[in-house]
Symmetry: C2
Subunit: 504 residues, 2 copies
Amino acid sequence: MQEQPLEQNLQTLMDLQHRLAAYEHAIGLIQYDGATTAPKGTADNRAVSLSVLSEELYRCATGKETAALLDALDAKKDALTAEQKQMVYLLRKDITEMKKIPMQEYVAFQALLAKADDVWHTAKETNDFGLFCPYLEQIFETTRRFAQYVEPDKDPYDHCLSQYEEGLTTQTLDTFFQKLRTALVPLLQKIAAQPQVDDSIRFGDFPLEKQEVLSVYLMKTLGLDLRHVGLSTTEHPFTTSLGSHFDERITTHYHRDDFVSSMYSVIHEGGHALYDTGSADELAYTVLDGGTSMSIHESQSRFYENILGRSKAFCAFLFPKLCELFPHQMTGRTAEDLYRAVNKVEPSLIRTEADELTYSMHIMIRYELEKKVLAGELAVKDLPQEWNRLYKAYLGVDVPDDTHGILQDSHWAGGLIGYFPSYALGNAYGAQFLQKMKEQIDVDACLNAGDLSPINDWNHAQIWQFGRLYTPEEILSRVLDAPFDADAYITYLCEKAKDVYGIM
Amino acid sequence: MQEQPLEQNLQTLMDLQHRLAAYEHAIGLIQYDGATTAPKGTADNRAVSLSVLSEELYRCATGKETAALLDALDAKKDALTAEQKQMVYLLRKDITEMKKIPMQEYVAFQALLAKADDVWHTAKETNDFGLFCPYLEQIFETTRRFAQYVEPDKDPYDHCLSQYEEGLTTQTLDTFFQKLRTALVPLLQKIAAQPQVDDSIRFGDFPLEKQEVLSVYLMKTLGLDLRHVGLSTTEHPFTTSLGSHFDERITTHYHRDDFVSSMYSVIHEGGHALYDTGSADELAYTVLDGGTSMSIHESQSRFYENILGRSKAFCAFLFPKLCELFPHQMTGRTAEDLYRAVNKVEPSLIRTEADELTYSMHIMIRYELEKKVLAGELAVKDLPQEWNRLYKAYLGVDVPDDTHGILQDSHWAGGLIGYFPSYALGNAYGAQFLQKMKEQIDVDACLNAGDLSPINDWNHAQIWQFGRLYTPEEILSRVLDAPFDADAYITYLCEKAKDVYGIM
């Protein structure tokens, strides 16, 4: 093969990334459509198209021409910009991994996931783990097999964790979770001994059309550009980019009897959307577009949801809007009532509804289960029983049924094994970011005024604009001058507990 | 290239069609998403992905391997089933045409259409033809250029007409429209001399959530399987299949002050959906899936909308449901009031809202305009003026603005030039089908009972199940024992006028 001039190879590199982005747009939209709009009987039809498109994506990514191109560019990497170098690095890494998985197995897995997501919806609706079990078995089996194809010498679960946070291991997480447990368990015991907070403000009758108005208000308050960020409703809230960060979608789930649930889903997914849409526009349609890792992603979503969204200052800002939307329900209530209600600490069944203090326990349970299943120490069919046992042991709650237990999250049905720890790490990163941010910005003043732009500008300058240009470690070391640890997060949680429950 | 065994070639033929269907699923879904759900600022982003995917589709369809495969199968066509033969015929025909268009121009046209549709929405909203004009000029220019690439010796407009109805020419249409005009103009004059029908039953305040309930009720009454047919709202109602007839989408547009508009959109699009989803399941993911031509398609949609939906028997069936949904508005009204209101004949501005008698005039106007622009006798920038002149001449109405004039339809923005005559032909086919159907089925009894299954079964047996296996001419000659002509349609319209206006 004749050698191409560098300029031409760089153009081909951009074309390749445009092609990959278009396939991802198509595949992502078919999945999004399945979760939002598609008629209920169409999962098999989607699986057929997803098989074909993922096969085409696989061929495009792993073809000989692509390999030759990336090798040629890698050989001249001294002549590349930092962005181009990182594109070549990430593409080579992704493609090297992809090529180790036989194409037919890769394609079959995409089709399996399309069906599994559909079956999970029905299983959750009908409290029927037995229906979902064979799919989940296949998902875990395939995940383990793929891990062995790609990194045969590595522990399969460490491989999975690395998919969402490069270099993350069970060793790191064991230490992190141990530290959290040591700090949080006594704190939870102290809180349990205090009088409980009254959270009745959140319950009542909140018409969906009013909640929809609230969602749009929150999106605008967050600073999202509604010409490029859409909102839909789904069983489980999520965020996805379609083609590039120029088309971002978030979803929520409304409960008519509790407006707080959807409110924080919108703020959480809105945080993801801020990060994605904050990528520099030049990164669109390249592999550098979007977030650098799921932990950094969750550090943003949970930063907006909790650190900002559950703060006293934001509750004070938001309360008048709630009075306008829900005048009857807010009669006789105060912003302080709202603040205390959304910070009520109580062991509970549902992760996405959990308070900040017990949240990490929900993650630890999923972490323990994933680790055991991938190590072959726990059969998928025994997951519900072990789930329920751990909920009793870690949180003291009895799981009444699988709908409120093992079937509550969509992640495993979507093949996201090893994802959950990102949430806990993200929480901890966020607390460290907050410390740095407060050195430069009066965060509470921004929240009180409902003007998040100084906060967004800081995050944009420090994190968002770079997309995947820097690794998570590089982002952390750029933003923080200290190494990552859980102390800031623990301090933050203790202060919140002190403020809400008067615990020293 | 070594010759492959027939069995293997047939498998490759099916794989090829699966790939084409998956690309069409992706492209169709991106367009559908743009019309239904996507945030307003994302048209450029869609254009990027649509360019890539249409290029991939073009490559897949026109590649050397595909040509060799189809040639090999064509050479052995005596060994093929009727279905396989027709697949090879249609693919060779489509691909031969596609290959005559340079790939870059083909791809650029897809990107143009994605943007044009977006600009058309804004132009219609803001009554700004000037905004849309340069896009429409490019669409007409490209259409003429492509016509010359594909059939250089044919009149460009005849080529366009053939895209929607093989073999259709301006000669046929001139004769057809002349005959219609000769019959309808005096009839319209007689009606104008009669006392006008009271259609106030349709106007009032009809909450959207009630209209949505009506839509679902109508879809079920039509016999649509809601597990495979979805409903959304768009500026302009349409129907699309995604991947195969197993996932069909229809759309409507609600007017709060007039429930009849959306009601007949749902029935019209529901008719398209019945035809598409009626394809034999074995045809899914092949080029034989779906309808054989746009005229036959419109014969079904307009059959359900008008011949069935505006019949006295169906109005009688529907009226109690309307009383249940809109009790206040239906007080003191009768089924006969509904029947007369939905059959009121009155020259008007909007095609999709037009009565059956004046409808063809709307089509003739568009036909005249398309013909003139493609012949170079009329500039696109002069279209609004000529549109308004023809509306005055044919229908006697003054067009107040372009939103209610040249900008009302989405077809041209979607590149559908030569499509409109399908509606008029479809009307006429439908009237002939009705005559045959009535020989075997008591249509009015079915409608009175709201049980459309005998009617659907007849259409399924005669038309739907075959997909694209037969040409439109073959379908017509299978169903009718007489050749196509406009007489049945004219007789049908005269009878309706007699019933509603007492004209002999």
